[in-house]
Symmetry: C2
Subunit: 298 residues, 2 copies
Protein backbone atom coordinates (compact mmCIF):
# COMPACT_ATOMS: atom_id res chain seq x y z
CA UNK A 1 0.00 0.00 0.00
CA UNK A 2 1.21 3.48 -0.73
CA UNK A 3 -0.87 5.87 1.35
CA UNK A 4 -2.93 5.45 4.52
CA UNK A 5 -4.86 8.28 6.12
CA UNK A 6 -5.66 8.07 9.80
CA UNK A 7 -8.28 10.51 10.98
CA UNK A 8 -8.05 11.10 14.72
CA UNK A 9 -4.78 10.22 16.42
CA UNK A 10 -5.50 9.35 20.03
CA UNK A 11 -4.75 6.03 21.71
CA UNK A 12 -6.07 3.87 18.85
CA UNK A 13 -4.99 6.10 15.95
CA UNK A 14 -1.45 6.50 17.25
CA UNK A 15 -1.19 2.78 18.01
CA UNK A 16 -2.17 2.12 14.38
CA UNK A 17 0.51 4.54 13.15
CA UNK A 18 3.11 2.72 15.22
CA UNK A 19 1.94 -0.75 14.14
CA UNK A 20 1.80 0.24 10.43
CA UNK A 21 5.34 1.65 10.65
CA UNK A 22 6.60 -1.43 12.47
CA UNK A 23 5.06 -3.84 9.97
CA UNK A 24 5.97 -1.63 7.00
CA UNK A 25 2.41 -1.84 5.71
CA UNK A 26 2.29 1.52 3.93
CA UNK A 27 4.80 3.84 2.32
CA UNK A 28 3.22 6.96 3.80
CA UNK A 29 0.96 7.50 6.77
CA UNK A 30 -1.01 10.74 6.76
CA UNK A 31 -2.64 11.86 9.98
CA UNK A 32 -5.48 14.31 10.37
CA UNK A 33 -5.90 15.45 13.97
CA UNK A 34 -7.89 18.48 15.04
CA UNK A 35 -6.76 18.75 18.67
CA UNK A 36 -3.84 21.18 18.98
CA UNK A 37 -2.75 19.45 22.17
CA UNK A 38 -2.54 16.11 20.37
CA UNK A 39 -0.70 17.65 17.40
CA UNK A 40 1.99 18.95 19.75
CA UNK A 41 2.25 15.52 21.38
CA UNK A 42 2.53 13.77 17.99
CA UNK A 43 5.37 16.08 16.99
CA UNK A 44 7.13 15.61 20.31
CA UNK A 45 6.75 11.82 20.04
CA UNK A 46 8.28 11.92 16.57
CA UNK A 47 5.57 9.63 15.25
CA UNK A 48 6.47 8.62 11.71
CA UNK A 49 3.54 10.23 9.97
CA UNK A 50 2.69 13.28 7.89
CA UNK A 51 0.35 15.64 9.73
CA UNK A 52 -2.22 17.26 7.47
CA UNK A 53 -4.68 20.04 8.19
CA UNK A 54 -6.58 19.89 4.93
CA UNK A 55 -8.07 16.94 3.05
CA UNK A 56 -8.07 18.44 -0.43
CA UNK A 57 -4.66 17.46 -1.74
CA UNK A 58 -4.31 14.26 0.24
CA UNK A 59 -7.54 12.26 0.06
CA UNK A 60 -7.46 11.66 -3.74
CA UNK A 61 -4.22 9.68 -3.46
CA UNK A 62 -5.16 7.65 -0.35
CA UNK A 63 -5.65 3.85 -0.53
CA UNK A 64 -7.12 3.38 2.93
CA UNK A 65 -8.79 5.79 5.35
CA UNK A 66 -9.24 4.74 8.98
CA UNK A 67 -11.58 6.81 11.13
CA UNK A 68 -10.28 6.78 14.73
CA UNK A 69 -12.23 9.77 16.09
CA UNK A 70 -15.16 9.54 18.48
CA UNK A 71 -18.20 8.43 16.48
CA UNK A 72 -19.92 11.79 16.93
CA UNK A 73 -17.26 13.30 14.62
CA UNK A 74 -17.95 11.00 11.66
CA UNK A 75 -20.71 13.07 10.04
CA UNK A 76 -18.78 16.33 9.98
CA UNK A 77 -15.69 14.67 8.50
CA UNK A 78 -17.62 12.66 5.92
CA UNK A 79 -19.25 15.84 4.67
CA UNK A 80 -15.81 17.44 4.36
CA UNK A 81 -14.14 14.60 2.47
CA UNK A 82 -17.06 13.44 0.29
CA UNK A 83 -16.03 15.55 -2.69
CA UNK A 84 -12.52 14.06 -2.75
CA UNK A 85 -13.52 10.40 -2.54
CA UNK A 86 -13.09 8.07 -5.50
CA UNK A 87 -14.71 4.65 -5.92
CA UNK A 88 -11.67 2.48 -5.24
CA UNK A 89 -10.87 4.06 -1.85
CA UNK A 90 -11.20 1.75 1.12
CA UNK A 91 -12.70 3.31 4.24
CA UNK A 92 -13.01 1.80 7.67
CA UNK A 93 -13.48 2.99 11.24
CA UNK A 94 -12.76 1.58 14.69
CA UNK A 95 -15.97 2.63 16.48
CA UNK A 96 -17.32 0.45 19.28
CA UNK A 97 -20.95 0.35 18.13
CA UNK A 98 -22.11 -0.18 14.59
CA UNK A 99 -25.79 -0.23 13.66
CA UNK A 100 -26.62 3.40 14.19
CA UNK A 101 -23.28 4.78 12.96
CA UNK A 102 -23.53 2.67 9.79
CA UNK A 103 -27.07 3.96 9.19
CA UNK A 104 -25.76 7.51 9.45
CA UNK A 105 -22.77 6.76 7.21
CA UNK A 106 -25.07 5.26 4.59
CA UNK A 107 -27.06 8.48 4.58
CA UNK A 108 -24.13 10.88 4.51
CA UNK A 109 -21.40 9.16 2.50
CA UNK A 110 -21.18 9.94 -1.20
CA UNK A 111 -23.05 7.37 -3.32
CA UNK A 112 -20.84 4.70 -4.84
CA UNK A 113 -18.29 4.76 -2.02
CA UNK A 114 -17.97 1.72 0.27
CA UNK A 115 -17.44 1.84 4.03
CA UNK A 116 -16.37 -1.38 5.71
CA UNK A 117 -16.49 -1.08 9.47
CA UNK A 118 -13.94 -2.55 11.91
CA UNK A 119 -13.87 -2.84 15.68
CA UNK A 120 -10.55 -3.80 17.24
CA UNK A 121 -11.23 -4.97 20.83
CA UNK A 122 -8.33 -3.06 22.28
CA UNK A 123 -7.92 0.04 24.38
CA UNK A 124 -7.65 1.10 27.96
CA UNK A 125 -8.74 3.81 30.37
CA UNK A 126 -6.12 6.26 29.12
CA UNK A 127 -6.45 8.37 25.99
CA UNK A 128 -4.08 10.37 23.84
CA UNK A 129 -1.25 9.58 21.40
CA UNK A 130 1.34 9.34 24.19
CA UNK A 131 -0.23 6.08 25.34
CA UNK A 132 -0.22 4.43 21.91
CA UNK A 133 1.57 1.13 21.48
CA UNK A 134 2.45 -0.80 18.32
CA UNK A 135 1.50 -4.02 20.13
CA UNK A 136 -1.93 -2.82 21.25
CA UNK A 137 -3.75 -5.07 18.77
CA UNK A 138 -1.52 -8.10 19.13
CA UNK A 139 -3.60 -11.25 19.63
CA UNK A 140 -6.76 -9.17 20.20
CA UNK A 141 -10.00 -9.69 18.30
CA UNK A 142 -10.88 -7.34 15.49
CA UNK A 143 -14.50 -7.57 14.36
CA UNK A 144 -15.15 -6.82 10.69
CA UNK A 145 -18.74 -5.91 9.91
CA UNK A 146 -20.16 -7.90 7.05
CA UNK A 147 -23.65 -7.16 5.75
CA UNK A 148 -25.44 -8.46 2.68
CA UNK A 149 -24.29 -5.50 0.61
CA UNK A 150 -20.69 -5.41 1.91
CA UNK A 151 -17.86 -4.84 -0.53
CA UNK A 152 -16.17 -8.26 -0.57
CA UNK A 153 -12.93 -6.92 -1.98
CA UNK A 154 -12.63 -4.34 0.78
CA UNK A 155 -13.52 -6.93 3.39
CA UNK A 156 -10.77 -9.20 2.11
CA UNK A 157 -8.31 -6.29 2.08
CA UNK A 158 -9.15 -5.23 5.63
CA UNK A 159 -8.97 -8.80 6.91
CA UNK A 160 -5.41 -8.97 5.65
CA UNK A 161 -4.65 -5.51 7.05
CA UNK A 162 -5.79 -6.30 10.61
CA UNK A 163 -4.03 -9.65 10.54
CA UNK A 164 -0.79 -7.94 9.66
CA UNK A 165 -1.37 -5.52 12.56
CA UNK A 166 -1.51 -8.62 14.76
CA UNK A 167 -5.25 -9.02 15.36
CA UNK A 168 -7.41 -12.12 15.18
CA UNK A 169 -10.15 -11.25 12.72
CA UNK A 170 -13.76 -12.38 12.83
CA UNK A 171 -16.73 -11.16 10.79
CA UNK A 172 -20.32 -10.62 11.89
CA UNK A 173 -23.16 -8.27 11.03
CA UNK A 174 -23.69 -5.00 12.85
CA UNK A 175 -26.81 -6.20 14.65
CA UNK A 176 -25.01 -9.17 16.20
CA UNK A 177 -22.00 -7.00 16.97
CA UNK A 178 -24.04 -4.44 18.87
CA UNK A 179 -25.91 -7.12 20.79
CA UNK A 180 -22.75 -8.91 21.90
CA UNK A 181 -20.84 -5.80 22.89
CA UNK A 182 -23.77 -4.32 24.77
CA UNK A 183 -23.18 -7.01 27.41
CA UNK A 184 -19.42 -7.67 27.17
CA UNK A 185 -18.28 -4.07 27.00
CA UNK A 186 -20.94 -1.33 27.06
CA UNK A 187 -22.83 -2.49 30.15
CA UNK A 188 -19.59 -3.18 32.11
CA UNK A 189 -18.48 0.38 31.44
CA UNK A 190 -21.85 1.84 32.41
CA UNK A 191 -21.92 -0.28 35.57
CA UNK A 192 -18.42 0.88 36.52
CA UNK A 193 -19.38 4.53 36.01
CA UNK A 194 -22.53 3.92 38.01
CA UNK A 195 -20.78 2.21 40.91
CA UNK A 196 -18.24 5.01 41.23
CA UNK A 197 -21.05 7.59 40.99
CA UNK A 198 -22.93 5.74 43.75
CA UNK A 199 -19.81 5.74 45.94
CA UNK A 200 -19.44 9.47 45.39
CA UNK A 201 -23.07 10.08 46.30
CA UNK A 202 -22.70 7.85 49.35
CA UNK A 203 -19.62 9.76 50.47
CA UNK A 204 -21.55 13.01 50.27
CA UNK A 205 -24.60 11.65 52.12
CA UNK A 206 -22.61 9.99 54.92
CA UNK A 207 -19.82 12.56 55.04
CA UNK A 208 -17.33 9.68 55.31
CA UNK A 209 -13.92 9.82 53.72
CA UNK A 210 -14.22 6.43 52.06
CA UNK A 211 -12.28 6.47 48.78
CA UNK A 212 -9.13 5.67 50.75
CA UNK A 213 -10.64 2.26 51.50
CA UNK A 214 -11.24 1.45 47.86
CA UNK A 215 -8.73 -1.41 47.72
CA UNK A 216 -11.55 -3.72 48.80
CA UNK A 217 -13.01 -3.76 45.29
CA UNK A 218 -14.03 -0.25 44.26
CA UNK A 219 -10.62 0.55 42.75
CA UNK A 220 -11.14 -2.01 39.98
CA UNK A 221 -14.25 -0.20 38.83
CA UNK A 222 -12.60 3.20 39.06
CA UNK A 223 -10.17 2.19 36.33
CA UNK A 224 -12.91 1.53 33.79
CA UNK A 225 -14.84 4.57 35.01
CA UNK A 226 -11.83 6.72 34.09
CA UNK A 227 -12.35 6.00 30.37
CA UNK A 228 -12.84 8.79 27.84
CA UNK A 229 -16.23 10.41 28.37
CA UNK A 230 -16.80 11.54 24.76
CA UNK A 231 -16.10 8.11 23.35
CA UNK A 232 -18.37 6.46 25.88
CA UNK A 233 -21.19 8.98 25.52
CA UNK A 234 -21.18 8.21 21.79
CA UNK A 235 -21.27 4.46 22.40
CA UNK A 236 -24.08 4.70 24.97
CA UNK A 237 -26.16 6.93 22.68
CA UNK A 238 -25.49 4.88 19.55
CA UNK A 239 -26.25 1.50 21.11
CA UNK A 240 -29.10 2.77 23.28
CA UNK A 241 -31.70 0.14 22.57
CA UNK A 242 -29.43 -2.84 23.29
CA UNK A 243 -28.00 -1.13 26.35
CA UNK A 244 -31.46 -0.39 27.75
CA UNK A 245 -32.32 -4.08 27.44
CA UNK A 246 -29.20 -5.30 29.24
CA UNK A 247 -29.70 -2.69 31.98
CA UNK A 248 -33.15 -4.21 32.55
CA UNK A 249 -31.70 -7.73 32.71
CA UNK A 250 -29.00 -6.50 35.09
CA UNK A 251 -31.51 -4.83 37.43
CA UNK A 252 -33.75 -7.91 37.39
CA UNK A 253 -30.80 -10.09 38.41
CA UNK A 254 -29.62 -7.61 41.04
CA UNK A 255 -33.07 -7.63 42.63
CA UNK A 256 -32.90 -11.42 42.73
CA UNK A 257 -29.52 -11.24 44.50
CA UNK A 258 -31.01 -8.72 46.93
CA UNK A 259 -33.90 -11.08 47.66
CA UNK A 260 -31.52 -13.99 48.30
CA UNK A 261 -29.55 -11.83 50.73
CA UNK A 262 -32.60 -10.51 52.54
CA UNK A 263 -34.12 -13.98 52.88
CA UNK A 264 -30.71 -15.51 53.67
CA UNK A 265 -31.41 -18.01 50.88
CA UNK A 266 -28.18 -19.93 51.15
CA UNK A 267 -28.87 -22.41 48.37
CA UNK A 268 -29.92 -19.90 45.76
CA UNK A 269 -27.09 -17.46 46.55
CA UNK A 270 -24.31 -20.07 46.61
CA UNK A 271 -25.56 -21.50 43.32
CA UNK A 272 -25.20 -18.09 41.68
CA UNK A 273 -21.77 -17.39 43.18
CA UNK A 274 -20.42 -20.79 42.13
CA UNK A 275 -21.78 -20.45 38.59
CA UNK A 276 -20.28 -17.00 37.99
CA UNK A 277 -16.90 -18.20 39.22
CA UNK A 278 -16.63 -20.47 36.17
CA UNK A 279 -16.52 -17.53 33.78
CA UNK A 280 -13.14 -16.38 35.03
CA UNK A 281 -11.61 -19.75 34.18
CA UNK A 282 -13.12 -19.62 30.72
CA UNK A 283 -11.82 -16.10 30.14
CA UNK A 284 -8.31 -17.13 31.12
CA UNK A 285 -8.51 -20.29 29.04
CA UNK A 286 -9.57 -18.16 26.06
CA UNK A 287 -6.56 -15.91 26.74
CA UNK A 288 -8.81 -12.90 27.25
CA UNK A 289 -6.96 -11.98 30.45
CA UNK A 290 -3.73 -12.80 32.23
CA UNK A 291 -3.69 -15.70 34.67
CA UNK A 292 -2.34 -13.85 37.69
CA UNK A 293 -4.21 -13.13 40.91
CA UNK A 294 -5.21 -9.47 41.21
CA UNK A 295 -4.12 -8.91 37.56
CA UNK A 296 -0.57 -9.33 38.87
CA UNK A 297 -0.63 -5.73 40.03
CA UNK A 298 0.69 -6.29 43.56
Amino acid sequence: MKNILIIGCGLIGSSLVRAIVKKKISKNIFVYEKSKKNILKIKKLNLQCILISDFKNVVPKIDLIIFCTPMSQYEKIILEINKYLITKIIITDVGSSKESSLALIKKKLKKGISWTSSHPIAGSEVSGPEFGDSNLFLGKWCILIKEKNSNKKHLFFLKKFWKRIGSRVITMNSKKHDTIFSITSHLPHLIAYNLVKSAQDFEKIKKYDLIKFSAGGLRDFSRIAASNEIMWRDIFFNNQSNISKVIDLFIKNLKSFKKDIELKDDKSLIKKLVETKKVRKKIIMLKQDINKPDFGRS
Copy 2:
Protein backbone atom coordinates in the same frame (compact mmCIF):
# COMPACT_ATOMS: atom_id res chain seq x y z
CA MET B 1 5.07 -13.00 72.07
CA LYS B 2 5.41 -16.70 72.67
CA ASN B 3 2.43 -18.38 71.08
CA ILE B 4 0.01 -17.36 68.35
CA LEU B 5 -2.86 -19.53 67.19
CA ILE B 6 -4.25 -19.03 63.72
CA ILE B 7 -7.61 -20.66 63.12
CA GLY B 8 -8.23 -21.19 59.42
CA CYS B 9 -5.21 -21.18 57.13
CA GLY B 10 -6.32 -20.04 53.69
CA LEU B 11 -5.04 -17.01 51.82
CA ILE B 12 -5.18 -14.65 54.82
CA GLY B 13 -4.22 -17.16 57.52
CA SER B 14 -1.22 -18.45 55.61
CA SER B 15 -0.13 -14.91 54.71
CA LEU B 16 -0.21 -14.12 58.43
CA VAL B 17 1.90 -17.19 59.20
CA ARG B 18 4.47 -16.06 56.65
CA ALA B 19 4.49 -12.44 57.85
CA ILE B 20 4.78 -13.45 61.52
CA VAL B 21 7.70 -15.73 60.70
CA LYS B 22 9.39 -13.06 58.59
CA LYS B 23 9.02 -10.39 61.27
CA LYS B 24 9.85 -12.84 64.09
CA ILE B 25 6.78 -11.73 66.00
CA SER B 26 6.10 -14.97 67.85
CA LYS B 27 8.16 -17.91 69.02
CA ASN B 28 5.57 -20.46 67.95
CA ILE B 29 2.73 -20.31 65.46
CA PHE B 30 0.00 -22.90 65.92
CA VAL B 31 -2.43 -23.47 63.09
CA TYR B 32 -5.84 -25.07 63.27
CA GLU B 33 -7.20 -25.97 59.87
CA LYS B 34 -10.08 -28.34 59.27
CA SER B 35 -9.75 -28.82 55.51
CA LYS B 36 -7.70 -31.92 54.70
CA LYS B 37 -6.80 -30.46 51.34
CA ASN B 38 -5.39 -27.34 52.98
CA ILE B 39 -3.50 -29.40 55.59
CA LEU B 40 -1.74 -31.29 52.80
CA LYS B 41 -0.87 -28.02 51.07
CA ILE B 42 0.47 -26.49 54.31
CA LYS B 43 2.73 -29.50 54.81
CA LYS B 44 3.92 -29.41 51.22
CA LEU B 45 4.61 -25.68 51.46
CA ASN B 46 6.68 -26.28 54.60
CA LEU B 47 4.96 -23.37 56.34
CA GLN B 48 6.75 -22.73 59.62
CA CYS B 49 3.87 -23.56 61.92
CA ILE B 50 2.62 -26.32 64.19
CA LEU B 51 -0.55 -27.92 62.89
CA ILE B 52 -2.99 -28.86 65.62
CA SER B 53 -6.19 -30.86 65.44
CA ASP B 54 -7.35 -30.30 68.98
CA PHE B 55 -7.63 -27.10 71.03
CA LYS B 56 -7.40 -28.63 74.48
CA ASN B 57 -3.68 -28.63 75.12
CA VAL B 58 -2.84 -25.60 73.04
CA VAL B 59 -5.34 -22.81 73.76
CA PRO B 60 -4.40 -22.35 77.45
CA LYS B 61 -0.86 -21.29 76.51
CA ILE B 62 -1.79 -19.01 73.59
CA ASP B 63 -1.20 -15.23 73.78
CA LEU B 64 -3.11 -14.29 70.63
CA ILE B 65 -5.78 -16.11 68.63
CA ILE B 66 -6.59 -14.89 65.12
CA PHE B 67 -9.76 -16.21 63.49
CA CYS B 68 -9.18 -16.45 59.72
CA THR B 69 -12.07 -18.76 58.83
CA PRO B 70 -15.23 -17.70 57.00
CA MET B 71 -17.44 -15.88 59.51
CA SER B 72 -20.04 -18.64 59.47
CA GLN B 73 -17.51 -20.87 61.27
CA TYR B 74 -17.00 -18.55 64.25
CA GLU B 75 -19.85 -19.85 66.39
CA LYS B 76 -18.89 -23.49 66.17
CA ILE B 77 -15.25 -22.77 67.04
CA ILE B 78 -16.07 -20.38 69.86
CA LEU B 79 -18.22 -23.04 71.47
CA GLU B 80 -15.34 -25.51 71.17
CA ILE B 81 -12.66 -23.25 72.66
CA ASN B 82 -14.70 -21.42 75.32
CA LYS B 83 -13.75 -23.79 78.07
CA TYR B 84 -10.01 -23.30 77.47
CA LEU B 85 -10.03 -19.49 77.36
CA ILE B 86 -8.45 -17.45 80.14
CA THR B 87 -9.01 -13.71 80.74
CA LYS B 88 -5.68 -12.41 79.48
CA ILE B 89 -5.98 -14.07 76.05
CA ILE B 90 -6.21 -11.67 73.12
CA ILE B 91 -8.62 -12.72 70.38
CA THR B 92 -9.15 -11.10 67.02
CA ASP B 93 -10.58 -12.02 63.64
CA VAL B 94 -10.16 -10.77 60.09
CA GLY B 95 -13.80 -10.87 58.96
CA SER B 96 -15.01 -8.35 56.40
CA SER B 97 -18.20 -7.31 58.19
CA LYS B 98 -18.50 -6.58 61.87
CA GLU B 99 -21.80 -5.58 63.47
CA SER B 100 -23.65 -8.84 63.18
CA SER B 101 -20.64 -11.08 63.80
CA LEU B 102 -19.73 -9.07 66.92
CA ALA B 103 -23.31 -9.39 68.19
CA LEU B 104 -23.06 -13.16 67.77
CA ILE B 105 -19.63 -13.29 69.39
CA LYS B 106 -20.92 -11.30 72.37
CA LYS B 107 -23.67 -13.86 72.81
CA LYS B 108 -21.50 -16.96 72.40
CA LEU B 109 -18.09 -16.08 73.83
CA LYS B 110 -17.41 -16.98 77.46
CA LYS B 111 -18.10 -14.05 79.78
CA GLY B 112 -15.04 -12.11 80.83
CA ILE B 113 -13.16 -12.78 77.59
CA SER B 114 -12.45 -9.87 75.20
CA TRP B 115 -12.68 -10.05 71.42
CA THR B 116 -11.11 -7.18 69.50
CA SER B 117 -12.00 -7.34 65.84
CA SER B 118 -9.65 -6.55 62.92
CA HIS B 119 -10.19 -6.18 59.21
CA PRO B 120 -7.09 -6.11 57.04
CA ILE B 121 -8.08 -4.70 53.61
CA ALA B 122 -6.11 -7.29 51.69
CA GLY B 123 -6.94 -10.32 49.64
CA SER B 124 -7.64 -11.32 46.10
CA GLU B 125 -9.82 -13.58 44.01
CA VAL B 126 -7.76 -16.66 44.81
CA SER B 127 -8.06 -18.70 47.99
CA GLY B 128 -5.96 -21.31 49.72
CA PRO B 129 -2.62 -21.37 51.58
CA GLU B 130 -0.63 -21.75 48.34
CA PHE B 131 -1.45 -18.15 47.41
CA GLY B 132 -0.38 -16.66 50.76
CA ASP B 133 2.28 -13.97 50.76
CA SER B 134 4.21 -12.43 53.65
CA ASN B 135 3.83 -9.03 51.96
CA LEU B 136 0.06 -9.23 51.53
CA PHE B 137 -0.60 -6.65 54.25
CA LEU B 138 2.25 -4.29 53.40
CA GLY B 139 1.01 -0.70 53.22
CA LYS B 140 -2.63 -1.85 53.30
CA TRP B 141 -5.20 -0.54 55.75
CA CYS B 142 -6.14 -2.64 58.72
CA ILE B 143 -9.30 -1.49 60.50
CA LEU B 144 -9.44 -2.13 64.24
CA ILE B 145 -12.93 -2.08 65.70
CA LYS B 146 -13.23 0.14 68.73
CA GLU B 147 -16.48 0.34 70.65
CA LYS B 148 -17.26 2.01 73.97
CA ASN B 149 -16.57 -1.21 75.87
CA SER B 150 -13.46 -2.24 73.92
CA ASN B 151 -10.46 -3.60 75.80
CA LYS B 152 -7.94 -0.75 75.43
CA LYS B 153 -4.98 -2.94 76.27
CA HIS B 154 -5.89 -5.44 73.57
CA LEU B 155 -6.52 -2.64 71.09
CA PHE B 156 -3.08 -1.22 71.79
CA PHE B 157 -1.51 -4.67 71.44
CA LEU B 158 -3.25 -5.38 68.13
CA LYS B 159 -2.38 -1.96 66.76
CA LYS B 160 1.28 -2.78 67.34
CA PHE B 161 0.83 -6.28 65.89
CA TRP B 162 -0.71 -5.11 62.60
CA LYS B 163 1.86 -2.36 62.24
CA ARG B 164 4.66 -4.91 62.56
CA ILE B 165 2.90 -6.99 59.90
CA GLY B 166 3.19 -3.91 57.68
CA SER B 167 -0.36 -2.53 57.79
CA ARG B 168 -1.53 1.03 58.26
CA VAL B 169 -3.90 0.87 61.22
CA ILE B 170 -7.05 2.91 61.75
CA THR B 171 -9.80 2.46 64.33
CA MET B 172 -13.54 2.93 63.93
CA ASN B 173 -16.70 1.41 65.36
CA SER B 174 -18.41 -1.56 63.76
CA LYS B 175 -21.37 0.48 62.53
CA LYS B 176 -19.18 2.90 60.60
CA HIS B 177 -17.03 0.02 59.33
CA ASP B 178 -20.00 -1.87 57.92
CA THR B 179 -21.41 1.27 56.32
CA ILE B 180 -18.14 2.18 54.59
CA PHE B 181 -17.34 -1.31 53.34
CA SER B 182 -20.87 -1.89 52.08
CA ILE B 183 -20.06 0.60 49.31
CA THR B 184 -16.28 0.24 48.83
CA SER B 185 -16.15 -3.55 48.89
CA HIS B 186 -19.40 -5.48 49.39
CA LEU B 187 -21.43 -3.77 46.66
CA PRO B 188 -18.56 -3.92 44.11
CA HIS B 189 -18.32 -7.68 44.66
CA LEU B 190 -22.08 -8.16 44.37
CA ILE B 191 -22.16 -6.02 41.23
CA ALA B 192 -19.34 -8.03 39.68
CA TYR B 193 -21.11 -11.31 40.44
CA ASN B 194 -24.32 -9.84 39.05
CA LEU B 195 -22.73 -8.59 35.83
CA VAL B 196 -21.14 -11.95 35.13
CA LYS B 197 -24.43 -13.69 35.95
CA SER B 198 -26.23 -11.35 33.53
CA ALA B 199 -23.68 -12.12 30.80
CA GLN B 200 -24.22 -15.84 31.37
CA ASP B 201 -27.98 -15.42 31.16
CA PHE B 202 -27.60 -13.30 28.04
CA GLU B 203 -25.40 -15.94 26.43
CA LYS B 204 -28.07 -18.56 27.06
CA ILE B 205 -30.92 -16.39 25.77
CA LYS B 206 -29.11 -15.24 22.61
CA LYS B 207 -27.18 -18.46 22.04
CA TYR B 208 -24.11 -16.33 21.23
CA ASP B 209 -20.63 -17.40 22.17
CA LEU B 210 -19.69 -14.12 23.77
CA ILE B 211 -17.27 -14.76 26.63
CA LYS B 212 -14.45 -14.76 24.10
CA PHE B 213 -15.10 -11.05 23.54
CA SER B 214 -14.79 -10.20 27.23
CA ALA B 215 -11.62 -8.11 26.83
CA GLY B 216 -13.89 -5.10 26.22
CA GLY B 217 -14.59 -4.78 29.94
CA LEU B 218 -16.31 -7.92 31.23
CA ARG B 219 -13.01 -9.64 32.10
CA ASP B 220 -12.31 -7.10 34.86
CA PHE B 221 -15.53 -8.05 36.61
CA SER B 222 -14.92 -11.76 36.16
CA ARG B 223 -11.85 -11.49 38.38
CA ILE B 224 -13.79 -10.19 41.37
CA ALA B 225 -16.65 -12.58 40.59
CA ALA B 226 -14.20 -15.46 41.00
CA SER B 227 -13.82 -14.74 44.72
CA ASN B 228 -14.55 -17.36 47.37
CA GLU B 229 -18.29 -18.02 47.53
CA ILE B 230 -18.48 -19.04 51.20
CA MET B 231 -16.63 -15.96 52.37
CA TRP B 232 -18.83 -13.69 50.26
CA ARG B 233 -22.09 -15.38 51.19
CA ASP B 234 -21.18 -14.75 54.84
CA ILE B 235 -20.39 -11.09 54.16
CA PHE B 236 -23.58 -10.51 52.16
CA PHE B 237 -25.73 -12.16 54.85
CA ASN B 238 -23.97 -10.43 57.75
CA ASN B 239 -24.08 -6.93 56.29
CA GLN B 240 -27.51 -7.35 54.71
CA SER B 241 -29.15 -4.14 55.83
CA ASN B 242 -26.33 -1.86 54.62
CA ILE B 243 -26.00 -3.81 51.38
CA SER B 244 -29.73 -3.56 50.68
CA LYS B 245 -29.50 0.20 51.04
CA VAL B 246 -26.56 0.59 48.66
CA ILE B 247 -28.22 -1.72 46.13
CA ASP B 248 -31.19 0.68 46.16
CA LEU B 249 -28.91 3.69 45.65
CA PHE B 250 -27.13 1.84 42.85
CA ILE B 251 -30.38 0.95 41.05
CA LYS B 252 -31.67 4.52 41.43
CA ASN B 253 -28.49 5.87 39.82
CA LEU B 254 -28.52 3.23 37.08
CA LYS B 255 -32.06 4.21 36.16
CA SER B 256 -30.93 7.81 35.94
CA PHE B 257 -28.09 6.78 33.57
CA LYS B 258 -30.62 4.82 31.53
CA LYS B 259 -32.86 7.86 31.29
CA ASP B 260 -29.94 10.07 30.14
CA ILE B 261 -29.11 7.52 27.45
CA GLU B 262 -32.69 7.10 26.27
CA LEU B 263 -33.26 10.85 26.13
CA LYS B 264 -29.79 11.46 24.67
CA ASP B 265 -29.27 13.97 27.49
CA ASP B 266 -25.75 14.97 26.59
CA LYS B 267 -25.22 17.48 29.38
CA SER B 268 -26.41 15.25 32.20
CA LEU B 269 -24.52 12.20 30.95
CA ILE B 270 -21.21 13.97 30.32
CA LYS B 271 -21.39 15.59 33.75
CA LYS B 272 -21.67 12.17 35.38
CA LEU B 273 -18.89 10.63 33.29
CA VAL B 274 -16.51 13.52 33.98
CA GLU B 275 -17.23 13.47 37.72
CA THR B 276 -16.62 9.73 38.12
CA LYS B 277 -13.33 10.01 36.26
CA LYS B 278 -11.91 12.06 39.14
CA VAL B 279 -12.15 9.15 41.55
CA ARG B 280 -9.47 7.17 39.72
CA LYS B 281 -6.97 9.98 40.19
CA LYS B 282 -7.81 10.18 43.88
CA ILE B 283 -7.41 6.42 44.30
CA ILE B 284 -4.00 6.51 42.65
CA MET B 285 -2.95 9.56 44.66
CA LEU B 286 -3.97 7.71 47.83
CA LYS B 287 -1.84 4.76 46.68
CA GLN B 288 -4.86 2.46 46.65
CA ASP B 289 -3.96 1.17 43.20
CA ILE B 290 -1.02 1.14 40.83
CA ASN B 291 -0.64 3.98 38.35
CA LYS B 292 -0.42 1.91 35.20
CA PRO B 293 -2.98 1.81 32.38
CA ASP B 294 -4.94 -1.45 32.35
CA PHE B 295 -3.39 -2.37 35.74
CA GLY B 296 -0.15 -2.87 33.81
CA ARG B 297 -1.39 -6.28 32.73
CA SER B 298 -0.64 -6.00 29.02
